[in-house]
């Protein structure tokens, strides 16, 4: 069997049903075999989109996403997307072509050392030496990408390995002698966490992406309700706790909700689960809950103490940790001591809601996102680009279900949202998928409109269009004396015509009513729609914690 055939068979055995990619010289033997395979191939127009699509597919479905590119420039175009998947712990498996074995190191045409380049941004990577290694390497790649804390894995395939014939054994298993995946938490840590939490008068739960990855949302809700603890999330944790729940406070951090940022500093015990205390969540890390007892649970032992020293650490899977804490707590906790706390939480939430509702008029981001939420069903998936659009979405578009809010939280990759939306739609064709975009971000991967039309993957793009690199402009307003340097994008392109040029639909609403009806139409058509909504270029994302400040020093 040829190496190429062997690869496609190995992918089939891993139940891969879709590959996002773009062919080129040194991956052609694999593409030749793919033509006869049942695996769906989705052709992108730039490899960066292939990896974002695989990432969106993985986050929406919980299954690994697969992308493919040729050697050299094809492979290097994947780099941003691989780094993105690595930062957000997304199980993406990238297959790249490589020059023939004897040409490696000779600066051959379209040669790049993609294994060297991606070492710091993958969990692991492989270069296949012989076709016979393919079955066990593919098994290893899928195991590594999904076991423990998920993340990207790259497999590099020299061209002559793809054409080489080999005796292959698909029953052979890889030997992975030292992968640390410790799902069951240490009972001592759990016991100490229970002690702190049962004595807590003002408990606070900070939940992150780890809760989503572990599918632990139900356990999280049960624990929060038992403790009467308010729940704030990191950006990547958004959706792990229903944001219409009385105990939900929304996101914490630089653009966190005021109530979440204030209350987290009032807590006497902070239970942080599946978070990594990123600088965008903690703001000034020394000013983050300095008086609280902190319990930190994470599946990755290297996250313990990396950013924040804590009182109790628990290494384990979020579902198991939350379940065992709740079990022991239920026996010990006769009645939550947090009644006064509950009142305080409710009062602050009410105050903030009244303030937020004040500035509702016109085509404001708040009003647009409110209308979007009202129209979309609870199970609709929203992706975002990066910048103001992302922060407005995080603040004003509540997520009610896990895996319905997909964003580039770690790397902050402009251009992620649209291809990620397409990947999510491929994974969940039955639900509407909307990319909340800015004009700057959307332009980075707008060529995916071609893929969305040709492959019939209909999504909705809502561009909050301020003709600006809005977040940079906001920082220039706040911190650089309003000196706008390289942020004005001009009044181009005409996004309606751009959409139409690709065979998609476009609209350009001038009021909230027109926006809502454009959205209704978009939900009914079977082609991608770009809704270009003009907003005020001076509009800021607020509240904001300026860099270097602690999380309660909020500009509102």
């Amino acid at each position: 069997m040829s190496g190429a055939r062997c690869l496609v068979e190995a992918l089939r055995q891993q139940k891969v049903s879709v590959i996002f990619g773009l062919p080129g010289g040194h991956i052609m033997p694999v593409y030749d075999v793919l033509l006869d395979s049942e695996i769906r191939h989705i052709l992108v127009r730039h490899e960066q989109s292939a990896v974002h699509m695989a990432d969106g597919y993985a986050r929406a479905s919980g299954r690994p996403g697969v992308c493919m590119a040729t050697s050299g420039p094809g492979a290097t175009n994947l780099v941003t997307g691989i780094a993105n998947a690595y930062m957000d712990s997304s199980p993406v498996i990238a297959f790249t072509g490589q020059v023939p074995r004897l040409q490696i190191g000779k600066d051959a045409f379209q040669e790049a050392d993609i294994v060297g380049i991606t070492t710091p941004i993958t969990k692991h990577n492989f270069q296949i030496g012989h076709a016979a290694e393919i079955p066990r390497t593919v098994k290893a790649a899928f195991h590594i990408a999904t076991a423990g804390r998920p993340g990207p894995v790259l497999v590099d395939l020299p061209r002559d390995v793809q054409t080489e014939n080999a005796e292959v054994d698909f029953s052979e298993n890889p030997q992975i002698r030292s992968y640390p995946a410790k799902n069951n938490p240490d009972p001592d840590g759990v016991e100490r966490a229970v002690e702190f939490l049962s004595d807590a008068e003002r408990p606070f739960i900070l939940a992150g992406g780890g809760v989503l990855i572990s599918n632990a949302s139900k356990e999280l809700r049960l624990l929060a309700e038992l403790l009467v603890a308010p729940v704030g999330t990191s950006l990547n944790g958004k959706g792990c706790f229903p944001e219409d729940h009385p105990l939900s406070l929304g996101i914490v951090g630089m653009h966190g909700r005021t109530e979440a940022n204030k209350l987290i500093l009032e807590a006497d015990v902070l239970f942080a689960v599946g978070v990594r205390f990123s600088d965008r969540t903690t703001c000034k890390v020394d000013g983050f809950c300095p008086k609280a007892k902190i319990v930190h649970a994470d599946l990755d032992p290297a996250e313990i103490e990396k950013n924040k020293e804590v009182d109790v650490s628990i290494v384990g899977d979020a579902t198991i940790v939350l379940h065992s804490i709740r079990n022991r707590l239920a026996k010990r906790l006769r009645k939550s001591k947090a009644n006064r706390w509950r009142t305080r939480v409710q009062e602050l939430k009410d105050t903030m809601r009244n303030q937020n509702n004040a500035n509702e008029d016109g085509l404001k981001p708040f009003a647009i996102l409110k209308a979007l939420r009202k129209t979309l069903p609870a199970n609709a998936i929203v992706t975002t680009e990066v910048g103001q659009n992302q922060m407005w979405a995080a603040l004003h578009f509540p997520a009610f279900m896990p895996r319905t809010f997909i964003t580039s939280g770690g790397l902050g990759t402009m251009g992620f949202g649209f291809p990620a939306a397409l990947g999510a739609k491929v994974a969940r064709p039955e639900v509407p998928v909307v990319d909340i975009a800015g004009d700057g971000s959307f332009l980075m991967t707008e060529n995916s409109l071609a893929t969305s039309v040709c492959e019939r993957i209909p999504v909705i793009v809502v561009i909050l269009n301020n003709h600006m690199l809005g977040m940079v402009a906001q920082w220039q307003r706040f911190f650089f004396n309003r000196r706008y340097s390289a942020v004005e994008l001009g009044n181009v392109p005409d996004f309606v015509k751009l959409a139409q040029a690709y065979g998609a639909e476009g609209s350009h609403p001038q009021s909230i009513e027109e926006f809502s009806s454009a959205l209704q139409r978009a939900l009914k058509t079977n082609v991608t729609t770009v809704i270009d909504v003009p907003i005020d270029p001076e509009e800021d994302v607020l509240p904001m914690v300026p860099p270097g400040n602690s999380v309660d020093q909020i500009l509102a």
Binding site: V115, G116, T119, P120, K123, H124, I144, I176, R177, S178, Y179, P180, D300, P301, A302, I304, E305, K306, E309
Partner: protein, 173 residues
Amino acid sequence: MKVTQQEFLLGMVVAHKPGVLHRVSNMFRRRNFNIESISVGATEEKELARMTLAIAGDDRVARQVVRQMEKLLDVVSVSVLDKRRTVQRELALVKLPASDPKTRSDIVNWANVFRSHVVDLSPESVIVEVTGTPDKIDAFIELAKNIGVEEISRTGVTALERGAGTVNRKEKV
């Protein structure tokens, strides 16, 4: 275990195959850890290699390094060595100019004091092999600077803990 020094020793057992040194050194680059010295060699098992690294940092850095290294698939085991009960050795070859007889006899005398050996002699220079703790080698080099050092090649420290435990059989953190 407590490491109070601002430099700690890491003993690692890794897969003995191409690319592993790159993965290990890349982790130091990526996580902003600082390698002072590194020595690598074969072990009692043919598919494994042993690395000894001297790393700048405190206890917290040491724990982070261990946890990050454990995430590398090619790292079989890793632990911070307890300096109080660890045998440390380094070897240095030091080339010294020695065209006149007086200098030559000085060098031979110093080498004797340091229990080291003159391993090569040519009309213009002498090579001395010094083995011992890194401190001892530093001391010899300081002394040798009096006559001018032409070239030095140091192996970096290699180390084993005394007693029954081995890095390979330690509990993972």
